[in-house]
Subunit: 360 residues, 4 copies
Amino acid sequence: MRFGTTLSVTLTGSSHGTSVGAVIEGLPSGAPVDLDYVQSELDRRSPSHRKLATMRKEPDRLLVRSGIENGRATGEPIVTLVENVDVRRAPYDELVDVPRPGHADYPARVRWGSSLDLSGGGIFSGRMTVGLVIAGAIVHDLLRNKGVGTVAFTRSIGPENWEDPATEVTIEDLRQQSRANEVGCPDPNAALRMQTAIEEARRNGDSLGGIVEVRVEGVPPGVGEPFFDPVESVLSHAYFSIPAVKGVEFGAGFQAARMRGSEHNDPFYIERGEVRTRSNRAGGILGGLTTGMPIVARLAVKPTSSIAKEQDSVSLSRREPVRLVVKGRHDPCIVPRAVPVVENFTSFVVADFMARGGYL
Amino acid sequence: MRFGTTLSVTLTGSSHGTSVGAVIEGLPSGAPVDLDYVQSELDRRSPSHRKLATMRKEPDRLLVRSGIENGRATGEPIVTLVENVDVRRAPYDELVDVPRPGHADYPARVRWGSSLDLSGGGIFSGRMTVGLVIAGAIVHDLLRNKGVGTVAFTRSIGPENWEDPATEVTIEDLRQQSRANEVGCPDPNAALRMQTAIEEARRNGDSLGGIVEVRVEGVPPGVGEPFFDPVESVLSHAYFSIPAVKGVEFGAGFQAARMRGSEHNDPFYIERGEVRTRSNRAGGILGGLTTGMPIVARLAVKPTSSIAKEQDSVSLSRREPVRLVVKGRHDPCIVPRAVPVVENFTSFVVADFMARGGYL
Amino acid sequence: MRFGTTLSVTLTGSSHGTSVGAVIEGLPSGAPVDLDYVQSELDRRSPSHRKLATMRKEPDRLLVRSGIENGRATGEPIVTLVENVDVRRAPYDELVDVPRPGHADYPARVRWGSSLDLSGGGIFSGRMTVGLVIAGAIVHDLLRNKGVGTVAFTRSIGPENWEDPATEVTIEDLRQQSRANEVGCPDPNAALRMQTAIEEARRNGDSLGGIVEVRVEGVPPGVGEPFFDPVESVLSHAYFSIPAVKGVEFGAGFQAARMRGSEHNDPFYIERGEVRTRSNRAGGILGGLTTGMPIVARLAVKPTSSIAKEQDSVSLSRREPVRLVVKGRHDPCIVPRAVPVVENFTSFVVADFMARGGYL
Amino acid sequence: MRFGTTLSVTLTGSSHGTSVGAVIEGLPSGAPVDLDYVQSELDRRSPSHRKLATMRKEPDRLLVRSGIENGRATGEPIVTLVENVDVRRAPYDELVDVPRPGHADYPARVRWGSSLDLSGGGIFSGRMTVGLVIAGAIVHDLLRNKGVGTVAFTRSIGPENWEDPATEVTIEDLRQQSRANEVGCPDPNAALRMQTAIEEARRNGDSLGGIVEVRVEGVPPGVGEPFFDPVESVLSHAYFSIPAVKGVEFGAGFQAARMRGSEHNDPFYIERGEVRTRSNRAGGILGGLTTGMPIVARLAVKPTSSIAKEQDSVSLSRREPVRLVVKGRHDPCIVPRAVPVVENFTSFVVADFMARGGYL
């Protein structure tokens, strides 16, 4: 339940226990921490103010039990948590014997047996990502002081895609625009189309996947460890820990597989004494090390597996087919709520890389 | 330079030092090791018998210095190496000041300065993957005894793609067919088209990327660690350590982002008392745990960055533009040689997962 | 701030922050946890009911925030803490510039500078050992179910020593007897002499050291890892983390250095089919592995460094001599309160060893 | 088989395999390495030139396979080994069923069964310490350039003890004097008495224990990690990995347990602007951090367990008593050969601490 090297986060609690939270270690003593910002990022992840999200409503008030005093890290482990308030176990009882298609139920039963509490997803629940948001939001000020900024946004939902505009957009603009609507897409028109698609899926008792994109600006060149901790390795390790992520690519990503070297290589040039590249098909990473150009990654998020439609499953005890209708409260599309998780967890990983390299 | 938990591999040496190799720890005492198989996999990775590969020719004879006696692991660390024979440093001298576009040169210079020996790529060289092949091939027999088989093959090169045939193909067939031609594609016709594409790229002084696919059969359900070591996280961590990989997806992967839940969820059924799924869009992994269905992953490999065409670069010392023609010996497409690396390193990661879970 | 492998404990908080506590990871889901026992061990460590201890009085009520429900571990990290109530910062202000002899002040100032809050010892305070008691007491029931019992007791205080009686005493007797008096010595007469010695030291504004002994029964033979985690290595690593410990020995320990092999070797014999040794000069450990005989260790605890007598120190800022009288509230002898810390932390380390070896 | 954090050493091979060695990771690229010095320390550990040692004679020629070129570390893992030449398996066959008193045989059989090869001690052999000598000797020049010097010497053998002379002796003198005789004691007269004691023990088919002392000068104040890697914790962890060590103390050590605080605290004073202490009962360590005074540790080494005298053992298969006469080639006292092991391994641990703290 622990991630990171110089900086680390340990996730605590579970979806339907008394709380979820995170223990963050390694923040230098005296580092500034803006707890209001952390709370605002928790609010952004929370379904409470969302029309398109699960009906489970949690206030998610941040509690800090150790490690922060007067807006500064003390150097000791930072113990944080939010309480679970709106816990209802009933809807999950049938699932002990009948695994939901597309969900962790079946392998989790094989591994831990029928006594495992999978109410609300247990440790597989998206609710565990509360700790990832906290960990990343806690290092936000520290990174900003070093000139590093991160933004994640919704690139596509189901068939609805947003293409970059012709003119370049700054990270700061992207941060503002993606916070201006509920789906987290910087473009209001595309956001509207995406919202419509989600509503339609919900009406049909179905769900949608999508793509989250993340960019990080201001990381100095040379950060990373060729074997075995290149920047792509550690970021993808982090990303695939987020429930429902099934693909990760950097820069040109899978498009690179169809390119020629002469198309793909980013030509170097000098701008105000700095080495830069004219394109950024490398996604800011060469040989596993940062190049100084923005880090760019995209995450494929699968459609929510808990859908209202009847599906084929089996009874694990009787070894026979069962038709299953999943109850409980679920998001018809998890992508918008994944956006703050990806943004903050990316910040955390980048902060750990910079701490390892002595940049923090 | 170390990867793994219960089983681990540490890479040693460098591209243009005296040797490259691997130290493998954690293999249970008495585990069978077929050194002939390890040598045959090294031969498969080697450019020596390839028409389409770099002109650097290395015999790559496996030497074992500790940890294997009479075809069995002794329980001590296994120290292996192959010597570097065909080392030529001259072609790389210019590159100390002029970084190759698309290559690790620039960030590596920033990180370690101009004294770093990047001849032949140094620790960034594809030659470091010799150790990954050794580590994975060493656990091949151990896995086979547990009913686990791995195959990697070339799914596409540049624009040339191979689509699965209508009838299902066994892992064993895929292993044989993909070893039957130089590009590592199971289908001879597709292989021929890919070979032609590579030859054309070489004639043009250019290079091509492609996609490697890997499948693992026989892994029991329930293997993996939800936070923070899901199977996808650890495999992708491993894959992005292989030079030139820019994207990784599992099962439906990026296609999942365009699907509805009712399309994407794999329905369960019972076959001879075993729980199985009718489709495998999950790629054998749900909630970060194996499902018992085949693990399926795809890796996007970018085109070789060292190309013969003249490119735009800069002089790091003079901070001015330079037109660069890369010399040295390079593969016009690294995909075919990445196939045995992906296959064997996948086996190693799977073996580590199984050892952690007490299955070995 | 983290110790352990399969089981781990992370210490949180600090002496004069809002709380101290521990995060315990790796306890198997469903493991029994007796929180009343944990509280009773915290009470034993606490100065509140002690006549011979510091005047700082803390209620030390155990709070559990995650990981235990209905007397069972849930498998998630266990987040525990006790609040700091009786915090007074004033007495420590002078010490920012004038380090106390025998205390961590000086090297801590060099390392972290004058802004480090060393009130009440900060992270160097004996109060941090609250977390070690919690971690060990939490695994008490789990170990007892496996037939493993641990006891620590006071072997000597200053010049007052307790010699083993001629007849063997059971672990259970030792546990009861050492809890029957305030100094933690199994023999009431020796305990009285030790108590008198402590009172005399306090009257003189001085302090005393002593020796804590610990025994563990019921650990099966073969537990441990020759290189580099022999049982002695990991236990001593743990013990030297307890403030004021300056020596650790196992079995005959330093006496072994004066023996001949024929005196020191423990002869084997068979008792009811079990292999045992007639003596136990090995302290239950050979080649770093347990032998099945009781593990026996002794810890040398130095006299409390904070004494009322005037001492020679220096002003760090003015680089000149200063005569120092240490204020604040301190134990004249820390040995009695170290006893529950050693006992419980030993249990924790043994539990980790057994978990690593698959015995839990 | 791995020790260290920023710097690490992995031991390879085994006593009666084809080689023993060490893989050292983390040495900064460009660090000076004097391979002649490493060889000379291997010679010092070797029994080849010793009259009082085992008859097993090994040339112990250092071979370096990776990581050092032209007297400098390249930054890659350093792979070293020495071949096992004088291997004789026969004498150990009986021991598969009859464990030697005082030796790892019994718990090792329980753990790994009768197939484990314990010839010559296997991985429990003192021969594994070859790798510890290599690892420490490799960092010798790096430490010397930082003003850090280490010496270990024989403090006592059986009843024969050496007391410090009235006048202070420099580390450099101690290094020379302890290398001037075979027992490793700085005083020639004491060395003669120790030598006589060893010879007498050998004539009687018996063995002797003793105490090794080690000192490190030049480590800056503030090195170490309070929880859980204080300097004493990590050094003792290392020391108890050396076969036959049963006790470790720092500074006044077990004597501190009998002292009053006013006797034990080292008074501070200023010397040429530097903070120093008049005595060094802390052994150079307060609160787990270095003070800038010399680090002083003592290790209790038990008498060699393999003795020629007949001893009581048991047959593991038949569960009945057996009278055992141990054959094979053994040292009557391991202390003199432990001296270079302790000295070099101490250097390695100190180098790792300094690397962690950014001092290297």
